[in-house]
């Protein structure tokens, strides 16, 4: 029981530290939201608007930073994330909830697929070391070292077009209204194909590489020989013995990447105009939209910590030796 309490205290502390840092760090960026907005518009917004914007964002009253910090916690504990500046006056929660599902669906599914596929290929590459499977690694690394946006743009150039089944941008057809109907879902899936493919191809090599290396590490352990001696099928030895034992680092990496899903993938979202969180965060940083930044950071924090917790549990399940005695 006390172990659990200790864990909880540990996570609460980490969350506090992370949230605090995420509160202060953005405020260290020079400038303020109004200036950022003015600069962004480059003359499209007259200097006369400056005052009204300060008033609008409530930045006209000078408050010491610590006071803002306390207020922030006050708000947070009431479950209030504040109003976004960029999308003023939409509440941050609303802004995030409009983009989160997209990110979760796209990045979530691709992360899972990329992990499964990558780990699978990694298992093969490690197991069949020295055969043609060795090629998989350089080829996939080649693909993943290509900058995301570069790859995405090339894909758009090559695959997308007016008559292609791959739309080049957006989360769904401009014509359809979001809802749980065939039209919308079909359109959403269609729009997610290229971004998903891009993410998949670019992120797979990491899983392959680490899995392969771990497979190589465990491949000559005695229990593998024993498994062979038992006459188990090659598949069973490869999966049940070698891969199972090599899996730990990948699983912990996977848990972490699950936590980071909510952060979205900035460049893919930019290239494919995908309505996700990553792009929003990028915008928020550019616009110094503190409330939105904090909101997104908060969600990332919570989900990363949750993922960490899952990872911790996963170790216990996957490797009994990591369990502490006493």
């Amino acid at each position: 029981m006390s172990y659990l309490l200790k864990r909880i205290a540990f996570y609460i502390f980490t969350a506090w530290a992370a949230i605090t840092i995420n509160f202060f760090v953005p405020r260290l960026i020079p400038g303020d939201p109004v200036q950022a907005l003015i600069s962004k518009e480059r003359g499209q917004l007259n200097a006369d608007a400056v005052h009204s914007l300060y008033v609008l964002f409530g930045l006209d009253k000078q408050q010491p930073l610590w006071q803002q910090y306390l207020d922030y916690w006050g708000q947070l504990l009431h479950g209030d994330l504040g109003l976004s500046f960029t999308f003023f006056p939409s509440p941050v929660s609303e802004v995030i909830s409009s983009s989160l599902p997209w990110t979760l669906a796209l990045v979530g599914i691709t992360t899972v697929c990329s992990f499964l596929l990558g780990t699978g290929l990694g298992v093969l590459a490690g197991w069949r070391r020295g055969s043609w499977v060795d090629l998989v690694l350089p080829v996939t690394t080649f693909l993943s070292s290509v900058p995301y946006f570069w790859f995405g743009l090339i894909m758009i150039e090559l695959l997308a077009g007016p008559d292609s089944i791959f739309p080049s941008s957006g989360g769904y057809d401009p014509g359809v209204t979001p809802g749980w109907d065939i039209d919308f879902i079909g359109s959403a899936v269609q729009h997610s194909l290229l971004p998903a493919l891009t993410i998949l191809i670019s992120s797979m090599s990491g899983w392959i590489l680490s899995m392969r290396n771990m497979m190589v590490t465990v491949s000559s352990e005695d229990y593998i020989t024993v498994a062979h001696a038992k006459g188990l099928s090659d598949r069973r030895v490869m999966l049940g013995y070698a891969a199972r034992n090599a899996l730990l680092p990948n699983v912990s990496g996977f848990a972490l990447s699950l936590g980071l899903i909510v952060g979205g993938t900035l460049l893919v979202e930019i290239v494919f105009s995908y309505p996700g969180v990553g792009f929003q965060l990028f915008q928020a940083v550019g616009a110094k939209d503190y409330p939105l930044m904090q909101g997104i950071f908060l969600i990332i924090t919570l989900s990363v910590l949750a993922a960490n917790f899952i990872a911790d549990l996963a170790y216990l399940v996957l490797d009994p030796r990591t369990r502490k005695e006493g």
């Binding site: 229990y223 020989t225 062979h228 038992k230 006459g231 188990l232 099928s233 199972r244 034992n245 030796r321």
Partner: protein, 331 residues
């Protein structure tokens, strides 16, 4: 002991290839008969484990089988060479026909699987149709056989003592009731009560099922007690091979004699132990002639010149023994 079960014919096993190769097993010819317990003893590093793994093709890299044959006399299919089997044939052959208890038994259990599942998966691999309950019951039975309470099915290997892990491996080896069980120092971590109990079970089982055992150990007293025949290895070769009692009472090879002079007795007056002076030969730079001659108290002229061949000695004691020593010219 009429029928041969496994005939090893001039088996050579190397570590490494080409010039770098270490010849760990040289020209070993050995026959394991149906239903017999063949003891294999010898100096540490003399190639016992290498022989055991080489003949089953389980030697990890850089081990290679450099030549020879391992003829298995399958009661149903007739004799075939294990070394020529394809990988999938070999997989079927393994555990069902020949199971093996590794020397590093303490380390040969997969640390992340429970004991129970490691016991059952071999059964499953060879009999995919059996029910899970049946497999588990069998696993429990096997654990009991080796003196481990059934509630340890759920334990992970690191939660067991060294001896318990060894016993799990022994139990596992018996899971499919194979024709041959190769045991490489299976009892190093077992107390004598347990040893006796398990070996007793083994002997009973053997009587019931008629399998054969290749038993590698350093415990000569145990060997003499439990095996029918004993082969002694030195420097990668078999130097002597004879019925257990005969080796004990009347060993021909000076190395065997040295071994027997080295083990302490539990009962009776403490006697002087002699040991064998000198150090084991270097596998890379074997002495010429008989590998043992630099340490041999009785070495004489031909020993350094030519390698003695293993053969039936021209000495009293019957024809069911062989020795490779110039002192005992072959018939």
């Amino acid at each position: 002991m009429i029928e041969p079960l496994i005939e090893i014919k001039s088996l050579n096993v190397d570590y490494g290839l080409g010039d770098e190769a270490v010849h760990a097993v040289r020209d070993v010819t050995l026959t394991l008969h149906r239903g017999e317990v063949l003891g294999l003893a010898g100096e540490s590093g003399s190639g016992k484990s290498t022989l055991a793994y080489g003949m089953t093709r389980l030697l990890p890299p850089p081990g290679v089988v450099a030549g020879g044959e391992v003829i298995y006399h399958d009661p149903e299919r007739g004799p075939y060479d294990v070394l020529s089997l394809t990988n999938s044939e070999l997989r079927e052959f393994r555990w069902a026909e020949t199971s093996i208890v590794f020397q590093g038994a303490m380390n040969s259990l997969n640390p992340v699987h429970r004991i129970g599942s490691q016991l059952t998966d071999a059964i499953k691999a060879h009999d995919p149709r059996g029910s899970r309950q049946a497999r588990e019951a069998r696993a429990r039975e096997l654990l009991n056989l080796v003196g481990i309470p059934g509630d340890r099915m759920e334990s992970y290997p690191h939660q067991l003592s060294g001896g318990m892990r060894q016993r799990v491996m022994i139990g596992m080896a018996l899971a499919l009731e194979p024709k041959v069980v190769i045991m490489d120092e299976p009892t190093t971590a077992l107390d004598v009560v347990m040893q006796r109990q398990i070996l007793g079970e083994l002997v009973q089982l053997r009587e019931r099922l008629g399998f054969s055992v290749l038993f590698i150990t350093h415990d000569l007293s145990l060997l003499v007690e439990f095996s029918d025949r004993i082969a002694i290895m030195y420097g990668g070769r078999i130097v002597e091979q004879a019925p257990a009692k005969q080796i004990y009472t009347d060993s021909l090879h000076p190395y065997s004699a040295g071994l027997l002079g080295s083990f302490p007795a539990l009962r009776g007056p403490k006697r002087e132990l002699t040991g064998i002076p000198g150090s084991p030969p270097d596998l890379r730079a074997m002495p010429t002639g008989c590998a043992f001659h630099p340490r041999c108290p009785k070495s004489f002229e031909p020993c350094a010149q030519e390698i003695p061949v293993l053969g039936v000695p021209d000495a009293p004691g019957g024809s069911d023994r062989t020795v490779a020593c110039w002192l005992h010219p072959v018939r």
